[in-house]
Symmetry: D2
Amino acid sequence: MQLAIAVHSSLNKELEDKIKRFFENLKCNPTILVGGYWGGMKVVVDEAIMKKLKVVVILPEEREDVELPPDVIRINSGCEYRCRSVILVRSADLLVSLGGEVGTTIEIFMAYAMGKRALVLSDTGFSTDKLKTAFSEYLDNRKVMKVEYYSSPEDLAKEVCKPITQIKTNFG
Amino acid sequence: MQLAIAVHSSLNKELEDKIKRFFENLKCNPTILVGGYWGGMKVVVDEAIMKKLKVVVILPEEREDVELPPDVIRINSGCEYRCRSVILVRSADLLVSLGGEVGTTIEIFMAYAMGKRALVLSDTGFSTDKLKTAFSEYLDNRKVMKVEYYSSPEDLAKEVCKPITQIKTNFG
Amino acid sequence: MQLAIAVHSSLNKELEDKIKRFFENLKCNPTILVGGYWGGMKVVVDEAIMKKLKVVVILPEEREDVELPPDVIRINSGCEYRCRSVILVRSADLLVSLGGEVGTTIEIFMAYAMGKRALVLSDTGFSTDKLKTAFSEYLDNRKVMKVEYYSSPEDLAKEVCKPITQIKTNFG
Amino acid sequence: MQLAIAVHSSLNKELEDKIKRFFENLKCNPTILVGGYWGGMKVVVDEAIMKKLKVVVILPEEREDVELPPDVIRINSGCEYRCRSVILVRSADLLVSLGGEVGTTIEIFMAYAMGKRALVLSDTGFSTDKLKTAFSEYLDNRKVMKVEYYSSPEDLAKEVCKPITQIKTNFG
């Protein structure tokens, strides 16, 4: 399974803590896809490496010069942030949001638009928390796929490792 | 000025009516950028042509075979829907949403993330109406640029033609 | 008709002269697509404007800040040089090369790979001249579409304005 | 090291044999990047797996439904063939061509344009053989980086595993 993790490009202690709790409770071995190696994404990469997961970092053109730890696979997208996110989400079987601002929000919407499951951590203090209020079940009126909200990183990690049934949709 | 118009890929009578009222009240001559020639986007193109505006249609790879009216400029993006939207929004000075579902919502978030003004028609019956509830002013906690909500296409059209002061930002 | 013009990103007197002779002898009104507004591409844009042709400039992300003349349509690709060329060539009915280095060469190969006609000016002093020696008829063994070499900008301009029969192919 | 392998999208016995000889003689452990899982690219992936190398397949949108062997990392580019090649080449430290037609040729030119080393197998019977005749040293007049031609897959494999000094350039 390829698991995209959407998370804020900055970091605070609480976010770091939640990312660590997510990985500590992840009992399967997905390949981790992430959009950078800074902010929350850096912690994701470092935690995933410690668990010996395969890690792929898909970089926007603006940050292709970032150094990555050995054994991490680098994809230089050659394109800007949102375009990089398209590649990230399309390559994933499943998207997890651990909290973030507009970039993370866009990745959640992209997952929905591509017919991919999105598991969203709520109560993070970031803007992605607002999705639960506005879109409690579906992200649009087509009602294809429920967004799944979790308030604990532990529950989220457990859900990721359950066998999934993929529904594929693709909206224009 | 290059004006991107985000609007639903399907159509109903009410949406058609609002698009027409928007163009009837548009008293300046922006180049219109739009992401297809079907649903609400087809009405946008046809109305813009009637007003003798320059029109550019930026197509996703899946629909590059769509026929366009003469004099409309075709951009074949060579990439999927969301990637096509990146090009659409980046090329615009300003984005107007006339109502839509997840694709339109993503374009509004992209505009904000790229530091571009987004003028959003509310009370459309589409999912983009929910943004006003969840994000009454800003689309994330960075609070860079207020989203501007309008309940009438006439007011929206007037706002588009006011001189703008562009703020450029670009988030990762 | 949408005509992509591939040409060097630098300029010398001879290239400038040939671009001008090409436009002076262009007796039809294609929309001109070009990948920038510097070097030979700047002369292309300026000449096209003088002939009152519609002009679309498709910019790589690295140069999206370039100022363009009024009435020129700007497409900000959000991606790097070669990716920008994909959009340029895919959007064209026909590609003309007026001489260039590796970027121009890639655009000629892309046109062939996408099954589009490529008309190539030879004897320009640039690296694209070498294609005629190595690939006198076809750019690969599939032999889909002859590359057409011209030694004078006048003949090339005349050929562009002849009615075309498009062959569509797309190789992986 | 991330090694992109450019090779034909079809297959014959001779090509298969050369791919196998290349991998048999590869005495280091690069991560292999390749643009599909059909034709010569399928043999590349299968050989790399047998050598327990990490493998990343970067797919064009048209073929994102292709099934891949377990443990192979899938990148769904969301864009067409040439755009997929941009991501492939940008993500590589080094490009090896084992012979191919126009798609492979474009990837060699892209590597040069991005200032990356390209090692090209000659005498393959494919169109990439013509590059040696037309461009015996450099792919354009800027003469940044010699293309390196090899007539045996064994020598090519040895060269790949020598320590490299990367030169970075990026042409518009």
